[in-house]
């Protein structure tokens, strides 16, 4: 897996140098994952395909924004796909996630201590989600993985919107405490 990560990071770096072969390899290796992201969030095949195309255009055009370091390369790619899909959901304003990409990477300094801390954070979240009530953990998953809004979450869980917001905030607070412990 570690070598997978290094391979993908290397492909992204070569994309930044306009290496089309690297882009082709990157697509072959990662498009199924990113299609999984756009399809799950957009829940419509043709929209998901179009989003996937846009996502790879962004990756090709802005591969130079990826800074190896704290953030794993596949997480970075998933973040690009996820943010783009959320933007499509939100208002069909795909350009705005430019800034998201910049935010993703601008501070991702290759600081080894930070990278170590990040790895720790990643490993612990599953255990922390398990400590939440099942339906609250489900709401966090629904927001992250399905791109559900507060409205959709409150409908799905049959609670008023304000209750859902309170739920989620409490869950996030617990998650943060658990992860910082």
């Amino acid at each position: 897996m570690a070598s997978d990560t290094a391979d993908i990071a290397d492909m992204i770096a070569r994309c930044a140098l306009r290496d089309r072969q690297a882009f082709r390899e990157l697509y072959a290796r990662t498009s199924a994952k990113l299609y999984g992201v756009t399809l799950r969030i957009l829940r419509d095949r043709s929209e998901a395909e179009e989003a996937l195309q846009e996502v790879y255009v962004k990756i090709w055009q802005r591969a130079d924004r990826y800074v190896p370091g704290g953030y794993s390369p596949i997480s970075w790619l998933v973040a690009v796909a996820r943010n783009h899909s959320l933007d499509v959901l939100r208002a069909r304003k795909p350009q705005s996630d430019d800034i998201d990409m910049a935010l993703d990477v601008a501070d991702a300094s290759p600081d080894p201590e930070q990278a170590e801390a990040n790895r720790g954070e990643r490993a612990r979240i599953d255990g922390c989600l398990d400590q939440l009530d099942a339906d609250k953990a489900e709401a966090v998953r629904g927001a992250y993985l399905d791109g559900y809004s507060y409205e959709e979450l409150s409908e799905r869980h049959k609670v008023p919107l304000n209750t859902m917001r309170t739920w989620l905030r409490r869950s996030l607070l617990k998650l943060r405490e658990c992860l910082s412990a």
Binding site: D19, R20, Q21, Y27, S31, A32, K33, L34, Y35, G36, L39, R40, E49, L52, Q53, Y56, V57, W60, G70, Y71, S72, S75, V78, A79, R82, N83, L86, R90, A91, S96, I99, D100, L103, D104, A106, D107, A108, A117, N118, E121, R122, A123, I125, D126, V140, R141, A143, Y144, L145, G147, S149, Y150, L168, R169, L172, L173, L175, R176, L179, S180
Partner: protein, 235 residues
């Protein structure tokens, strides 16, 4: 240590950033938090932590093979009008160029032989090269007159690209490409082979055209994609 980061700015901010990372905020609120993120490094550090925390959920996105049409559209959109392989060391490119060049060269010889040459200005060529590349619409025939050391380029197809210039290169074997200068794609080009190139110039020399910044490559090597290439063949 992460505690200090996440709580900095107050709990309300901490929640907003987490909600932003989850994608829960609606348009205006999302935009508002984004402007604050641009200005406030503490919030950005918090965002990074949340994204890292949440990214462990990424494994739950199920891999689904994308339809082949997506890649075709992507490739067409990003690379159309330019050589597909785009790099000087692509064996596949050179192979396809060699095969294509031979076919066009045969036609060019046919034309050359069939056309009577009473015109004293006619170009007496001893070498021909057909320049093209897969995925590119640029196609050029080069004729070389050994006696005068002149190369004449005739465009078969190809369009000017705004803010770009086409540049012609000569390649001897595995040596680095040498520039023969910027060319006009929509006009006939007559150019003299420079003295430093003349010695090696002959059958087997590869001619290639790349797309470069205005005025030609800023270095002494091609920087843009090859849009056409072909080997010179004796007529």
């Amino acid at each position: 240590m992460s505690d200090a980061n996440t709580i900095a700015g107050g709990d309300e901010d901490g929640f907003l950033v987490a909600e932003y990372a989850l994608g829960l905020l609606d348009g205006p609120e999302h935009d508002r938090v984004r402007s604050r993120l641009k200005a406030e490094p503490v919030l950005r550090a918090d965002l990074r932590l949340w994204r890292t925390r949440l990214s462990s959920l990424d494994s739950e996105f199920v891999e689904t093979p994308a339809p082949a049409a997506v890649w075709s559209r992507l490739e067409q959109r990003l690379f159309t009008g330019q050589a597909k392989a785009g790099f000087w060391n692509s064996l596949a490119l050179w192979r396809s160029v060699a095969a294509g060049a031979l076919a066009v060269a045969v036609i060019a010889i046919g034309i050359n032989v069939a056309t009577p040459r009473p015109d004293p200005n006619a170009f007496a060529a001893q070498l021909v090269a057909a320049l093209s590349a897969q995925g590119s619409n640029v196609s050029v025939v080069a004729l070389y007159n050994e006696t005068t050391g002149q190369v004449r380029l005739t465009t078969v197809s190809g369009d000017p690209v705004p803010n770009k210039d086409y540049e012609l290169w000569a390649i001897e074997g595995s040596a680095a490409p040498k520039s023969m200068g910027v060319i006009k794609i929509n006009a006939r080009n007559d150019m003299k082979v420079a003295p430093d190139l003349l010695a090696g110039f002959g059958p087997g020399t590869t001619l290639a055209i790349s797309l470069e910044p205005l005025g030609g490559s800023p270095t002494h090597a091609p920087t843009g994609p090859i849009v056409a290439a072909g080997k010179a063949t004796t007529i």
